[in-house]
């Protein structure tokens, strides 16, 4: 099942993507949930799957305005430097612990959204990433149990302003620029998405292949990251962990292929789908 949040006909809703459209679930489950996050929190994914099984679409895809799959997540954690081949390419040792930082939701735009070129930098970069969506409250969970706490997977562009990442010892300023990244288009539930340790990750800018990786190359797997982060904080339904990006970012080219207004960008992850957007002037 692919679960999405959207605006349609002046109201906010959520539902499942079915052939050519969305079957709306807003208020249609026994818990009358109005937002997708509550479906996760109420452990109602199985009921949602029954309701949409064989359902006709209520709205065509071009009638909806996509929102972030969870529009208002409590926490979004990101992982840097997590693809082994890319780390070795740069002549670095594999890390002992993951590099973790956080982003606020407003730093992302949804599927088919417009990222805003930063006003104070030209070093605007993309990072296509497989993203874990937490389904159940998780604290001190083991790596072997961790995927039981995952509702599904989505796609993130952990869009980065490279020079601002180096202003100060923490990367947060370069990773929290307004509308600089993307999340979506939907959450592919765990049963549909397949093995999170074997998903292809492809990024294209204006049709040109830029990133090409597979999550089988992650130094710290999705399961490890859920377990690790749950050591320090309680992960809540709808929280997201984005797992890092393979080589091929703009900064890695000589000269760098920074994003600029008018660029169209696509992130395709096997088992999940394709997240698309464009860059507009600030």
């Amino acid at each position: 099942m692919k679960l999405a949040s959207f605006w349609v006909a002046g109201h906010e809703g959520f539902g499942a993507v079915v052939d050519g459209g969305v079957a709306e679930l807003t208020g249609r489950l026994s818990g009358r949930q109005q937002i997708l996050r509550d479906v996760l929190a109420d452990d109602a994914l199985a009921e949602a799957a029954q309701v949409v099984d064989g359902a006709e679409p209520d709205h065509a895809l071009d009638e909806i305005e996509w929102r972030l799959p969870i529009p208002d997540p409590e926490k979004i954690y990101c992982v840097g430097q997590n693809y082994a081949e890319h780390i070795r390419e740069m002549g670095m040792e594999l890390p002992d612990s993951p590099s973790i930082f956080s982003r606020y939701p407003r730093t992302f735009v949804p599927h088919l959204g417009q990222m805003i070129m930063p006003s104070d930098s030209v070093q605007f970069d993309y990072e296509g990433e497989m993203t874990v969506v937490i389904g159940r409250e998780a604290r001190h969970v083991s790596e072997s149990d961790a995927l039981d706490y995952v509702a599904g997977y989505t796609i993130c562009n952990d869009g980065s302003v490279r020079d601002w990442q180096r202003r100060g010892p923490q990367v947060a300023p370069g990773k929290n620029w307004e509308a600089s990244g993307m999340l979506g288009p939907w959450i592919a539930t765990a049963d549909e998405a397949g093995d999170p340790a074997n998903m292809t990750v492809v990024t294209r800018v204006n049709g040109e292949d830029r990133q090409h990786g597979n999550t089988n190359d992650l130094v710290f797997s999705a399961a490890y990251l859920v377990s690790y982060i749950s050591t320090f904080i309680t992960l809540m339904p709808g929280d997201m962990i984005t797992t890092g990006s393979p080589h091929g970012v703009a900064a890695g080219f000589d000269p760098p292929k920074w994003l600029k207004p008018g660029d169209r960008i696509e992130f395709e992850i096997g088992g999940i789908g394709t997240l698309s957007g464009e860059v507009v002037a600030g």
Partner: protein, 282 residues
Amino acid sequence: MKLISYRHAGREAYGVVKDGGIVDMSARLDHATLKQAIAGLSISEMERLAASADADVSLDDIDYMFPITSPEKIFCIGRNYRAYHEVIEEGGPMQWPSIFPRFASSFAPHGEAIHRPQASEQLDYEGEIGVIIGKSGRHIPEERALDYVAGYTIINEGTVRDWLKKGAQNCPGKNFHRSGSIGPWMVTRDEIDDLDKLRIVTTVDGETRQDGGSDMMIFKIPHVISHISTITWLEPGDMIATGSPGGSAIESDPPKWLTAGQSISVNIEPIGTLSNTIADEK
């Protein structure tokens, strides 16, 4: 004027602190939360209403909440006091502030236990002035930055020291569940005449550990507001923890880590005193 958010008789409320009690503003205004009241430019209205009213409830009978119960963003500034910077890490003057986000669940309210985590013995404290934003702003010039401030609170920016060094970013060590605290209330900005003359005193079981003046700040509050607003919109209720003077547990030899059963207070006049106990995480 002191503004507070609290729970009383099973209900969440906010009001004005007066004569050891609270004049309940949530019963007098249409805004559901203090954040909304601030965003709705109702600070002067609250002042007027409180002047002619008696307290509705005693401070002894409430559970404290964060002054802003659900801030969209909390940004922290690291290594922002001269003496502290010299002790923790030798190096030249910094060109850029160290900025990192924290999620609200990494803090406890006034009067509740701060958790010493299972995963580490190195729980430390950092008493700090907390800025609370009063109106939306982006690209705010330094000379007008204080116009965007609603008031100030106290933040114990509790830190798990060994987890700061796991991975390339400090996020895990700064985001342990309930490892810091915020409160007990906010004072409106007119209560503070000179931001350079605040004194931060942190005591543990009555022993003074931190005693520093805000004149030692490297990046002053207007600069920090302006800098962060380059990256993202600041919104009413957003908070900025502005850094801590010397005297944290790590600076003692051996380090005086916090342990279960201790009481910790951070006093900043004229804001007040933020007090918590330490309890082992269950």
